[in-house]
């Protein structure tokens, strides 16, 4: 049964002791490590420390250097944001873009070489389609501003310190740090170059705009709500515009649906929504609008279906003026539907 010499046994004993020592050290290491066990490391994720938060990428996206206005230089590195981290750049306004199918924001600041206190930040929002870009453009459009007429179509305007425009699927803001004419003029001058440099995949044609345009429409008042227009979730893809009717400002709207049946369903749903939330029916002086006029907390709402369109008037103070506008819109939408047929 002897398995070795005493010398070999001694060697085996030494090796065994060494192995046991190694095992002991491993055990000690595990013990020490687990004694510093942090439960929060295993808690359901609540918040990441700053170092683990997604940081804006500075390596991807278009080369914003080419958009540098004449006489300016880059003041910051380019920044790029997607739907997951847009809020890091614009915080509470992110939802406005996300609701309009935002894809990507590229941004960079530029400063005047001669007057470094004059700086501006360029924001290029890729919204995926011209329709989406128009939606965020229109919802933020400042009233009483100057159009930039060299754009076609003219979805472009300037204010005292900034330039705003859409081109294809892009919505662009170039925001200056002051109302210095030197700065704003540089931004205006840079806008056409930016427009030309951005790649366009589709023509910026939005058919509904023509349905709302009229002489008495207030310039720049057309808005596009892609969702939840007037607080009603069923009213999507809705264009609205404001009109001067006999000195009063009234809003009309139109939403193209998949077909006439869908339009009737949506119009009926919106009508029911108004009644269920406190509205009352009013008799209409225009026969075609009978049953479509609702008094909603002392303002007039009108909704109807005309072919594949849902149309109407929103929050009017004067019923007669509202009916006149609604009748005009109904006629125009019916004609458009007939042409389509």
């Amino acid at each position: 049964m002897a398995t070795g010499t005493p010398r070999r046994k001694a060697r085996e004993s030494v090796i065994s002791v060494c192995l046991l020592a190694v095992l002991f050290l491993i055990g000690l290491g595990v013990f020490l490590k687990q004694s510093r066990y942090d439960k929060t490391a295993f808690a359901p994720p609540t918040a990441k420390p700053l170092s683990q938060q997604p940081q804006p990428s500075t390596t991807a996206g278009p080369n914003l250097q080419v958009f540098t206005p004449n006489g300016f230089k880059a003041l910051s590195e380019p920044e790029f944001y997607g739907p997951d981290d847009l809020y890091e750049k614009i915080n509470g306004k992110a939802s406005l873009y996300l609701d309009s199918n935002f894809r990507r924001l590229s941004a960079r600041r530029f400063a005047s070489i001669d007057s470094p206190e004059l700086w501006a930040e360029l924001y290029i929002y890729d919204m995926g389609t011209a329709r989406n870009a128009f939606a965020v453009f229109s919802l933020q459009r400042r009233p009483d501003t100057l159009d930039l007429f060299h754009f076609d179509p003219s979805f472009a305007y300037r204010t005292e310190n900034a330039v705003y425009f859409t081109t294809g699927p892009y919505y662009v803001e170039f925001v200056g740090s002051s109302e210095s004419p030197q700065l704003t003029n540089a931004l205006v001058a840079a806008a056409p170059g930016i427009e030309k440099a951005l790649p366009l995949d589709e023509p910026a044609r939005i058919d509904e705009l023509g349905l709302l345009e009229a002489e008495n429409m207030l310039p720049g008042s057309i808005k596009l709500n892609l969702s939840n227009a007037f607080g009603f979730s069923g009213l999507t893809d809705t264009f609205s515009a404001r009109y001067n009717i006999g000195g009063q400002t009234i809003t009309a709207f139109v939403s193209r649906r998949t077909d006439s049946r869908d339009a009737r369903t949506v119009a009926k749903s919106y009508h029911s929504f108004l009644i269920e939330n406190g509205g009352t029916l009013r008799a209409a002086s225009v026969g075609a609008l009978q049953g479509n006029v609702v008094d909603f907390y002392d303002t007039i709402e009108i909704v109807f279906a005309a072919g594949p369109f849902v149309g109407g008037v929103h929050e009017a103070d004067n019923q007669q003026a509202a009916e006149n506008l609604a009748a005009w819109l109904m006629k125009r939408l019916s004609e458009a539907a007939e042409r389509k047929d």
């Binding site: 049964m1 398995t3 942090d38 439960k39 929060t40 490391a41 295993f42 808690a43 359901p44 609540t46 918040a47 990441k48 420390p49 700053l50 170092s51 938060q53 910051s76 809020y87 890091e88 750049k89 614009i90 915080n91 509470g92 306004k93 992110a94 939802s95 406005l96 600041r109 700086w119 930040e121 933020q140 400042r142 009233p143 009483d144 501003t145 204010t159 005292e160 310190n161 900034a162 705003y164 803001e173 925001v175 200056g176 740090s177 002051s178 109302e179």
Partner: protein, 332 residues
């Protein structure tokens, strides 16, 4: 023969031991596999490490809870508004440490009104250091976008430092998790706690702004900048989080700047045409009351902002600011 027998015995022994060792390893592996929990322990909030925001409020004095000053000059308005409440000495004692929380949310120019105006901040620092003889004044905020750019381009860093305050940029080690008692959203959530912990007084100072999500951003919404983590998830329940912030933070004083009000396209704005001059500044020990008056500058009523009602119901202040008998003044 004897040698061969010994060799056979050794070989058998070796095979038997190897088989036993293999069986032992297999058994141990099987037990380990059965006991292995790939998800790990469910985890519980580490209550021992949670912190609570100190109470910085001062005793209310009848008729000296809220002041509203009209005038074109922010600094003069602030000085007068604080004077009407009993002077800065009521709020800051000599030798105390003051923490000021401005709105530095964006890297935008002061003229755009998206952030606290540097001129106003400088005047507040001056009042604390020179008039009240505070030991030190710290200025902090947690803008998600690059803090260094935000503090620099808003003019806040330069204004604070020139007036003698120290600017604290958010760093990981300044955050600690907190849970708001009775809160629904603030649970084991990191906040910018270290500066709060070291301060004797806390003053919030914010502009009046339109806000796409919460309708209006004023002094209560300004505490949002104390939150760490991916706080954008709270935008889904914006009214509750603002109300909870007002429950969590009991400031010494809040300053609401309505000199130029961002009427549209908030909270970022971007165009000067988004702004309207209201030439109004509010100082208040009651943040709910301050915001309830402030929203009128946006052509809103307190009832239009659900978070005000929630905060009032939770005892954070009153929307009936007139009940506080605010003091009015005009500074030309």
């Amino acid at each position: 023969m004897s040698k061969q027998s010994t060799d056979n015995s050794g070989r058998r022994q070796f095979l038997a031991r190897t088989a036993k060792a293999a069986a032992a390893i297999a058994a141990a592996s099987a037990v380990s596999r059965l006991a292995y929990d790939p998800k790990g322990p469910p985890g519980q909030p580490h209550t021992r490490k949670l912190v609570t925001v100190p109470d910085f409020s001062v005793d209310r004095q009848p008729g000296q809870t809220m002041s509203i000053v009209k005038g074109p000059d922010r600094a003069k308005n602030l000085s007068r508004a604080v004077e009407l409440l009993g002077g800065i000495e009521r709020f800051v004692k000599p030798g105390e440490t003051v923490l000021i929380k401005p709105n530095v949310a964006f890297a935008s120019a002061p003229i755009l009104g998206a952030t606290t105006h540097p001129q106003l901040l400088a005047e507040l620092v001056r009042l604390c250091l020179q008039k009240a003889r505070a030991k030190s004044v710290y200025v902090t905020d947690n803008p998600i976008n690059d803090p260094a750019s935000c503090f620099m381009l808003t003019g806040i860093a330069a204004a604070a430092e020139q007036a003698g305050a120290k600017v604290l940029h958010p760093r990981n080690e300044l955050f600690k998790p907190t849970t708001l008692s009775g809160g629904k959203l603030i649970s084991n959530w990191p906040i910018l706690f270290r500066p709060l912990e070291k301060a004797d007084r806390l003053i919030g100072i914010a502009p009046v702004k339109d806000h796409h999500r919460s309708i209006a951003s004023m002094t209560m919404k300004n505490w949002y900048g104390l939150l760490g983590g991916r706080r954008n998830i709270f935008h889904q329940d914006i009214n509750t989080i603002i109300a909870e912030l007002a429950m969590m933070v009991t400031p010494t004083l809040v300053i609401l700047d309505g000199t130029q009000v961002m009427m549209t396209n908030g909270p970022t704005g971007g165009s000067l045409s988004d702004l309207r001059r209201a030439d109004t500044l509010i100082a208040s020990c009651d943040q709910v009351a301050a915001d309830s008056y402030g929203c009128t500058l946006l052509d809103l009523k307190a009832a239009d902002l659900p978070y005000l009602g929630k905060a009032e119901a939770a005892g954070a202040g009153t929307t009936d600011y007139e009940s506080l008998e605010p003091k009015f003044a005009t500074v030309t």
